[in-house]
Symmetry: C2
Subunit: 296 residues, 2 copies
Amino acid sequence: MNDDAGRQPVMTNPRAERVREVARLATRSGRSRSMRFLAEGPQAVREAVRLHRERSAAGRDAVVHQIFATPDAAERHPDLVSGVPGVEPRLAEPAVIAAMADTVSPQGIVAVCHQPQAGLVDVLAAKPRLIAVLCEVQDPGNAGTILRAADAAGADAVVATTGSVDLFNPKAVRSTVGSIFHLPIVTGIDFADLAEALRRTGVGLLAADGYGAADLDELQDRAAARRLGVDAAAEPVLERPTAWLFGNEAAGLGDEQLEAADLRVAVPLYGVAESLNVGTAATVCLYASARAQRRA
Amino acid sequence: MNDDAGRQPVMTNPRAERVREVARLATRSGRSRSMRFLAEGPQAVREAVRLHRERSAAGRDAVVHQIFATPDAAERHPDLVSGVPGVEPRLAEPAVIAAMADTVSPQGIVAVCHQPQAGLVDVLAAKPRLIAVLCEVQDPGNAGTILRAADAAGADAVVATTGSVDLFNPKAVRSTVGSIFHLPIVTGIDFADLAEALRRTGVGLLAADGYGAADLDELQDRAAARRLGVDAAAEPVLERPTAWLFGNEAAGLGDEQLEAADLRVAVPLYGVAESLNVGTAATVCLYASARAQRRA
């Protein structure tokens, strides 16, 4: 426990205005008004604190705004309640933490965080090789799964265009299991603007589309053949800097996205299944690109 | 609407014993006592009816035991309430369907189905190339995602060993989006027995293990090199008949599984993420095998 936290009284009133202010981060309007969101539980708070310390050391903007923990949780996680630059963690009773959190069991600790949004210009200036783009993905669990898969595949950024679920929604944040703090996130951008900016920067657009004419496994075969010198003349596809477009759960990608894409790519279905969940399809697509790019 | 359904009165009492009997299929004991489960909504019922008709034409056991639909749903889906061999669909008021179903919106139609369980002996006699094995996977959504991915990757069967979540749990069934009716399912089998049977049949065991020494992308590279004749001497791994072992969400695979496996394989993590969700990892593994096997 650090000294500052020790000096302040333990918060006991779950109906206090300060508590309700935190609870409002569970709503989209509460988040967009404050540009903050809530990381719940020790794992998410740890990732927030890690990024906060990194940024602080580099003289950059803070990530963590405030940390609230029960006395028990503070004792269990001393690394999360002391030495967080510029943050004085507050102790609170379990009922207070529960009133703040969206989760049933936040395990006694939450952090109010600034939304770590990146600008598209900065993302593109860093010469990205792999970007995941959410186009009207609606389910927060799917959005979180895609973000986590993008992180695992080493993607350079995740972009959510206008009309997609808010990536800072509590369920989405939980589904990312900390990945929300791992890579640049760009939200609320118009698709036409994004497509133009990507094109200008030399990033190709691949549409993940169950009805696509290109087969992902064939593209992977082609990349392997090229890499192994068997078909060196084959035009690179997966090896190129790529933004994958993932669409709505029910309707898929819209005409605007399909028309803007350089290629419409289907994950092949070898069984009886008629489709894949968008989170699952995104994982397969992002890993296919990561593999082709890292071995090119 | 078929004639039989027309002749019976519309069910109106959500508290009738017959309705409660259906509702009990939401519990594990209710399902294991009757060896039945509930398919909810037109998509799941359609897959059930499709398999039922196929089996009936082949003189095999029934899949659908009973269908209940609101008059509206029956009118919207005539293919689901007539011509289902041996089944007399019953009309029921929306409140009755709601009382039967676990879902918030079953869209007016449910089917009580016999659990389409397969025997391990039959599965192995059919010379399977790809099997997904759930070892103490606990979350029904993850189990359903793995089953759906196994179907999409063209796997020959899904096996759940003792201690795994019940694949006929309503949430698991929903997560499969119909795939529960697409491939043989073997449940409640002891892992040691399974491992021995697989070994005897020449099916290799690959453990999906984040700490595994083998890297899935390297195995895929090796398969590609072998296929393209660049390294024809490389020993086949992914190309062989394979049972993938997927473990518990928190603890991963147990020692018994890790020791029984021929190889422990990690899905590489290229970013900051510390792990992948088991459903996501399973998808990547199953697709890697499907691709290597179909091109071998």
